[in-house]
């Protein structure tokens, strides 16, 4: 590199410091589509992000017995960790019981949460089909999916959870109103 080039570089660098965003490409590296796919696990309430695959209640009963019941109890009740079933009709009482069936507003959230966080010791270890199956089973424990039912990326977002309308967004951050008057 000639001394002239070095001077030029120094000049560019000085200008860059004064206008930081001009050097934006210097930080980090581009993310490739393939590696984004590895981490892009979130599922929205519209079903966006749900993978191909499916699972039945019957399959889910076995998956639940193998990986979930030790903490959540047989049938999703009476375990040492969160109760998953029952509690419908208790939310306005002095002893509310918040479960998937009584409280969760979206079935898609159940798939997302199981996929990202469960089983607790080995999160993400269930296959896609196993995740759909155990989702179906927990929903069936709450009477939301039939005992011979099955869920996949098309059916899951269409399920209307019993407490879907049980939430009041804070006016300051209400998704339905925020940013809409700009």
């Amino acid at each position: 590199m000639s001394s002239h080039d070095k001077l030029l570089l120094a000049a560019i660098f000085t200008v860059g410091l004064l206008a930081a965003p001009a050097f934006a490409f210097d930080f980090g590296r581009p993310a490739t589509p393939d590696e984004i796919k590895l981490w892009d696990i979130d599922v929205g309430p519209d079903g966006k992000g749900l993978p191909d695959g499916s699972g039945t209640v019957a399959q889910g009963k076995q998956v639940f017995s193998d990986y979930c019941s030790a903490c959540h109890g047989e049938n999703g009740q009476g375990g040492i960790k969160d109760r998953l079933a029952g509690g419908q009709g208790t939310l306005a009482s002095s002893m509310p019981v918040k479960t998937v069936g009584s409280f969760w507003p979206y079935a898609t959230t159940l798939f997302d949460y199981i996929h990202r966080a469960m089983p607790y010791p080995t999160p993400g270890s269930l296959s896609t089909d196993e995740t759909y199956a155990v989702t179906a089973y927990i929903l069936s424990l709450n009477g939301i999916v039939a005992a011979d039912g099955k869920v996949d990326k098309d059916s899951l977002p269409k399920i209307k959870m019993p407490n879907r309308d049980g939430f009041i967004p804070e006016p300051e951050f209400d998704p339905a109103r925020l940013f809409h008057n700009k």
């Binding site: 930081a20 965003p21 934006a24 930080f27 980090g28 590296r29 581009p30 993310a31 590696e35 984004i36 981490w39 892009d40 696990i41 979130d42 599922v43 929205g44 309430p45 939310l91 306005a92 002095s94 509310p96 918040k98 998937v100 409280f103 969760w104 507003p105 979206y106 898609t108 959230t109 997302d112 949460y113 990202r116 966080a117 607790y120 999160p123 049980g166 939430f167 009041i168 967004p169 804070e170 300051e172 951050f173 209400d174 998704p175 925020l178 940013f179």
Partner: protein, 423 residues
């Protein structure tokens, strides 16, 4: 309330013995274990000077200063095995000033504390952006940085007192889920510019690298875009693992769980993702069975830390001290009542009073030895006043579990015993 200044009380015998005054101080203020050795009543009793311990690479606390957090599970479940803990609470009754010591900053984790090698940690920023990018910790450290003193508060802070007040609780039990540190990192706005975020993106998903992959949807209001940052520094050193090493989101004034620890992904979109934490967990159940959602801001709050639960005070001079904070901005004033909320006196605030940071307040008080109740209430610069418990419960019910910011009352009996009560 009293015309006597603390100096007059110190120099004159007034209505207390010197012994009582010294005893009161050592029992309460700093948590120094005064019981281990006899007090030095005369200067002749003070031990001789002499060579001390070798210098070291790392300063430890004095063996006389016993200060620890308390791991806890759900409300009322204390003294548990650490493997069952979901929180670890800050000992405010033993702290002074505005800043929480780094190792005593409260901790809330959803899947334990991951042991992350910073060389192998990456932050992915993608979604509605022109240039999805991957950053290392070193990349962040090269960027322009900000340092800011802010409180972070778990939404469960105060949850012991929703339904009842156990009289044996300390302020660590009732209010140990809020702390104030200085955090250093890269403004969110700078990162948004780097990836060239689509102007149409109004919500951001932030996700942690812990086992649970805790994730929250964050509305990109002007306030949040201007104030949020990705921190790698905590009180001048790298983040502690319990607090998100090697990087975390800092969201001044907002729910603790939005300050995603072990941050590894930011994704831009147009609507909230309705994650488990923003639906099933951090929503507030009202008396009618409906739940408040996206109650993201932490409201104005305060608590008297000295004297507080399980302490014992002496008649005569006492200094009342505590902490106040608000997610709306600066604390404008703190008032204290020493007569069961009948009359209020404005307390002194320790400077500097910073926006969205805890500030220490204090007031001199001469206790006449009669049973009473003491309570503080804060007002922030937006005019929000910390509610009394009765009106707070009337509005929120007693099942909300999170966002408890009612005034904290301590009762004092004829023996000077300070206890947790509902007003």
């Amino acid at each position: 309330m009293t015309s006597k200044t603390p100096i007059e009380l110190l120099t004159g015998p007034a209505n207390m013995s010197r012994r009582g005054f010294v005893g009161g101080l050592s029992a309460g203020i700093l948590g120094v274990a005064a019981t281990e050795a006899a007090n030095a009543e005369s200067l002749a009793d003070v031990p001789d000077r002499g060579p001390g311990a070798d210098l070291s690479a790392h300063s430890e606390r004095s063996r006389f200063a016993k200060i620890d957090r308390i791991p806890e599970s759900t409300p009322g479940k204390r003294n548990i095995d650490p493997s069952d803990a979901i929180n670890s609470k800050t000992p405010h009754q033993k702290l002074v000033g505005n800043i929480t010591p780094t190792d005593l900053h409260y901790e809330r984790s959803h899947s334990g504390v991951p042991d992350i090698d910073p060389a192998q940690h990456r932050l992915l920023i993608h979604g509605m952006v022109s240039k999805p990018l991957v950053f290392s910790v070193d990349d962040l450290k090269k960027m322009p940085s900000v340092s800011r003193v802010v409180f972070i508060e778990c939404t469960g802070n105060g949850w012991e007192n929703w339904k009842k007040a156990d009289p044996d609780l300390t302020v660590q039990n009732t209010h140990g889920l809020v702390s104030t540190n200085e955090w250093t990192g890269v403004p969110l706005k700078f990162l948004i510019d780097l990836v060239a975020k689509d102007k149409g993106s109004t919500w951001m998903l932030a996700e942690g690298g812990d086992g649970a992959g805790v994730d929250r949807s964050i509305p990109l209001t002007d306030e949040i875009v201007n104030e949020a940052f990705v921190a790698y520094g905590q009180n001048g050193e790298p983040l502690r693992p319990a607090h998100g090493f090697p990087m975390r989101l800092v969201m001044p004034g907002f729910e603790g769980n939005l300050n995603i620890k072990w941050l590894r992904r930011l994704k831009f979109g147009t609507a909230p993702w309705m994650t488990r934490w923003e639906t099933a967990r951090y929503t507030q159940l009202l008396a009618d069975g409906k739940a408040r959602q996206f109650q993201l801001r932490m409201d104005t709050n305060s608590v008297i830390t000295q004297p507080s639960g399980m302490m014992q005070i002496q008649p005569g001079y006492n200094r009342i001290s505590g902490l106040a904070w608000s997610g709306h901005g600066k604390i404008a004033k703190v008032e204290i009542s020493t007569d069961s909320a009948k009359s209020w006196t404005q307390a002194q605030l320790s400077q500097p009073v910073l926006s969205k940071a805890q500030v220490r307040f204090q007031m001199d008080w001469v206790w006449d030895g009669k049973p009473t109740r003491i309570v503080s209430r804060s007002t922030d610069e937006q005019g929000n006043v910390q509610p009394d418990r009765q009106s707070f419960i009337a509005a929120m019910g007693s099942n909300a579990l999170f966002h408890y910011n009612a005034q904290q009352t301590w009762s004092i009996d004829e023996a000077g015993r300070v206890r947790n009560v509902l007003a």
